[in-house]
């Protein structure tokens, strides 16, 4: 009777030691570098690097969210991004801080004949999407522009416009024809009048 208790205790002790060793080894061997949640949040953010959240770029904001900051500070991402982050972080979705703007994707455009070549916009661009040199005309590489607006303010001659991205056959979303157009017979119309 007593021996079976001893055996049970001995087995449990051995098991506990064995698992302790395995877990201890695993925690060293498979240690995760950095906070994986930051990476996950970072991939959800739109990477415009616009700084509208108050942080210098998307990754710092992702870090702030991981540390418990509000999730509604990203206007370029819009409600969709906010909802995805809410789902990931397991928090309640919150409406966007500023009135959610019409989320039209835009790119910067420099009116080249007005550009004086001051390079201020080049320094402001977070993704190096503006090309040019001192006292020479600058221009925006449209396909790399994230539409962050950061170049508009520094321009001393106000020659940068933010223009909406044009719809082409490649990015057309089939919704243009969603409006049902019914052809009204002229005669019917006349009768009604």
């Amino acid at each position: 009777m007593l021996s079976s208790i001893f055996i049970a205790v001995a087995i449990l002790t051995v098991l506990a030691l064995a698992f302790g060793v395995i877990l201890g080894f695993a925690s060293k061997k498979f240690k995760v570098e950095g906070n994986p949640i930051v990476d996950q949040v970072d991939t959800l953010l739109p990477q415009t690097q616009c700084g509208q959240c108050g942080y210098p770029g998307c990754r710092p904001y992702a870090e702030a969210i991981a540390n418990g900051d509000k999730i509604n500070k990203c206007p370029p991402g819009g409600t969709a991004t906010m909802e995805k982050i809410a789902e990931l972080m397991g928090v309640e979705p919150e409406p966007l801080g500023e009135a959610a703007q019409a989320n039209v994707k835009k790119v910067a455009f420099i009116r080249e004949d007005e550009c004086i070549g001051c390079t201020k916009c080049i320094q402001a661009c977070p993704v190096d999407a503006i090309l040019g040199a001192g006292k020479l005309m600058h221009t925006v590489i449209a396909k790399d522009c994230t539409g962050c607006d950061l170049c508009v303010e520094p321009c001393p001659v106000d020659c940068i416009d933010m223009i909406p991205v044009e719809t082409t056959i490649q990015n057309w979303d089939w919704k243009l024809r969603a409006i049902p157009i019914s052809v009204i017979d002229q005669q019917q119309e006349d009768k009604r009048c």
Partner: protein, 669 residues
């Protein structure tokens, strides 16, 4: 157990899932031999897109010959486009496209000269050419898949893996269309020549020409052509398959002929199978043996509103409106013109769009022929669509998620494998336009993927930029450190001695003065007491400091006055120049820029301190600055106005508007 090749030889067929049997209605257009239409006077040839590394090789005003290449390019999937007739390039501009969206694309507009003279053609014998030369000829002829997808054929003819089976697609399962049917009946020998070129390039073990059993004449013609051809008769055969829509789809036809299923996301070449349309085989033969580029194709004109339905050779770039005028088109009220068949085609919003390489049919149905779009009713979960789906998807699930805009979930139900054949919409008892929903969902998914890619690229660029700034900073620090070290190293020992000597002198002097003050203090103690000395010396310091401050103030004031004078001089100079009507462009530009900058600054100042006197005064200055050029505007108007002036005026107006806005804002606040 028979091997696959033996089964192919016996003509064994497998069942493909789903499918429907819509009315075929092919007799409307397949009764007459393919004929030609009179040449129109204007052609619209869309040029390849920017992404394909293509450049125009002609410019506006150039005279081009029939078959002359209009573009040059380097991309792997790039295909050149050719002039459909001889004439003059009258414009290269955005023109409405033959696409469901009708969005404009860059097009080359050619005015025909009526001569229709060919450019120099280089005919060849097949034996003279190497395989790569044949592929190059096919590429330079701009041959794209003629079945509708218009995928570049040279890519499919140059696969990475071994090809065992070539299927020539003459199925044409879509109702109404009979272009391939007529082509097989009227040009069977040419098609066989094209097939022999494909055989030469790919060297497959078997070639199967698949034809639906509703085209017995075409099957007979092809069979006869095989016996006449030089190809070994034991590797090529005609396989007649039962009529069902959509048997002509690439993956469906492979399943029917071989029983193999092309995996999701894979291409048939990975199974050792390549499929080409009969029209493509014809075009390959024309290109390789005669040197003719792809500038015309067979198009079916059908539907009850066409007076002369049938198949016609049409030049690529003929506008739909021109072509329809030639076949006694009588539009109804609210007439639809559908490109492609009734199942997969799309209605055109504008008829002034060109025929493309993949345009196989123009359908102009009467009101009675095609029911008007019925109102969509609720899904009743009957499951008919799942039975009809040839891709074995769950259309109602896809529909739920697509309608709720849960595109990720729709993607998890393999939305990308949908071939948009329209079987589900056809059988739906609730008249739900299912395919429309899938198309919206697909494009949304595509755009999201694109955005994700762009975000990834932006992130990389951002990180690279941060790294670069960091590197620059460290490099700068390193440089200054190095320079300091260098200075020290370059110092000669004598210099060092001199420095040491100077240091010693300074130390000595200090000691001396200390001694002297000590002396003076000791002597002074006789007259005044020590504390007064302690009070005295700070006083002296204070006066010295105040003097220094006064000096600095005076200097500042002087600088300010100088700069103000400079600015005024600038402005007055500029305005003087204006009024004198003797404008130096640069000066004017600078003045405009200065005015704009000032306006901006003033605006900012106004915002930050609306009640501040200085701000108001500065805004007054700006107002002056703005008024001056505007005052000169009137004098400018009198003089011959040039562009620059207009621009300056515009800039001034803009600045004014901005300021007014900001003022209003301030007032509102």
């Amino acid at each position: 157990m028979l091997t696959l090749l033996e089964q192919l030889d016996k003509g064994h067929l497998w069942r493909s899932p789903g499918g429907i049997h819509p009315p075929e209605l092919k007799t409307l257009s397949n009764q007459s031999v393919i004929s030609s239409l009179p040449l129109p006077s204007r052609f619209v040839v869309p040029v390849p897109l920017v992404g394909q590394l293509a450049t125009m090789s002609v410019k506006v005003g150039d005279h081009v010959l029939k078959g002359q290449a209009l573009t040059e390019g380097a991309g792997f999937t790039y295909l050149p486009v050719h002039a459909p007739t001889s004439g003059v390039v009258v414009a290269i501009e955005q023109h409405n496209s033959n696409h469901a969206s009708t969005l404009p694309v860059l097009s080359c507009i050619i005015e025909a000269d009526g001569q229709d003279t060919w450019c120099e053609l280089i005919p060849n014998q097949l034996e003279q050419l190497s395989k790569s030369a044949i592929l190059d000829k096919i590429k330079q002829a701009g041959i794209a898949g003629m079945g509708g997808a218009a995928f570049p054929s040279h890519v499919k003819l140059n696969p990475a893996s071994e090809i065992d089976l070539v299927i020539i697609n003459g199925v044409e399962c879509e109702p109404y269309i009979s272009a391939d049917d007529r082509l097989m009946r009227d040009y069977s020998d040419e098609i066989l020549t094209g097939i022999s070129i494909i055989h030469h390039l790919l060297n497959p073990q078997r070639i199967v020409i698949a034809i639906e059993d509703n085209k017995p004449e075409a099957a007979k013609a092809m069979q006869a052509a095989i016996t006449r051809s030089t190809l070994p008769n034991d590797i090529i055969r005609v396989t007649v398959i039962p009529t069902k829509y959509p048997s002509g789809g690439e993956k469906q036809l492979i399943q029917i002929i071989t029983g193999k299923e092309v995996p999701s996301g894979a291409i048939p070449a990975q199974l050792g199978i390549v499929m080409h349309n009969v029209g493509t085989a014809y075009a390959i033969q024309e290109a390789v043996l005669q040197g003719k580029p792809l500038i015309e194709r067979v198009v079916t004109f059908t539907g009850e509103r066409v007076g002369k339905p049938g198949n016609y050779w049409l030049r690529i770039g003929t506008t739909v409106a021109d072509a329809l005028n030639q076949v006694n088109f009588a539009p109804d009220n609210g007439q639809k013109v559908i490109v492609g068949g009734p199942m997969m085609g799309y209605a055109l919003a504008d008829l002034d769009v060109p025929i493309l390489k993949g345009t196989n049919c123009l359908l102009t149905p009467s009101q009675a022929e095609i029911a008007p779009d019925a109102d969509e009713k609720a899904c009743i979960r009957c499951g008919e669509c799942a039975v009809a789906c040839p891709a074995l998807l769950l259309p109602q699930q896809l529909f739920w998620h697509a309608k709720a805009e849960e595109y990720d979930k729709a993607a998890s139900f393999n939305l990308k494998d949908c071939i948009e054949c329209g079987c589900c919409s056809y059988v739906c008892p609730s008249d739900i336009p299912l395919v429309e929903y899938y198309r919206v969902a697909k494009s949304a998914l595509k755009n999201t993927a694109e955005e994700k890619l762009q975000a990834e690229r932006a992130k990389q660029r951002f990180e690279v930029r941060l790294q670069r700034l960091e590197d620059e900073k460290t490099a700068r620090e390193e440089k200054s450190k190095q320079a300091a070290a260098k200075r020290q190293a370059n110092m000669k020992s004598s210099d060092k001695d001199a420095v040491a000597a100077a240091m010693a002198r300074i130390a000595a002097k200090k000691a001396q003065t200390a001694d002297a003050t000590k002396d003076s203090v000791t002597t002074d103690t006789n007259i005044t007491d020590a504390p007064s000395v302690a009070v005295d010396s700070p006083d002296a310091k204070k006066t010295a400091v105040s003097a220094a401050i006064e000096r600095a103030k005076a200097k500042k004031a002087a600088i300010a006055a100088q700069s103000l004078a400079d600015k005024q001089a600038d402005v007055t100079e500029a305005t003087a120049d204006h009024s004198a009507d003797n404008i130096d462009d640069k000066k004017a530009k600078i003045a405009a820029a200065v005015a704009r900058a000032k306006a901006k600054k003033a605006g900012l100042a106004n915002e930050s301190a609306a009640t501040d006197n200085s701000a108001t005064s500065s805004s007054a200055v700006t107002a002056e600055a703005i008024n001056n050029p505007s005052a000169t505007d009137s004098s400018i108007n009198a003089a011959p106005v040039d562009d620059k002036k207009a621009k300056i005026a515009a800039a001034v107006a803009k600045a004014k508007a901005k300021k007014a806005d900001e003022k209003k804002d301030v007032e509102d606040n």
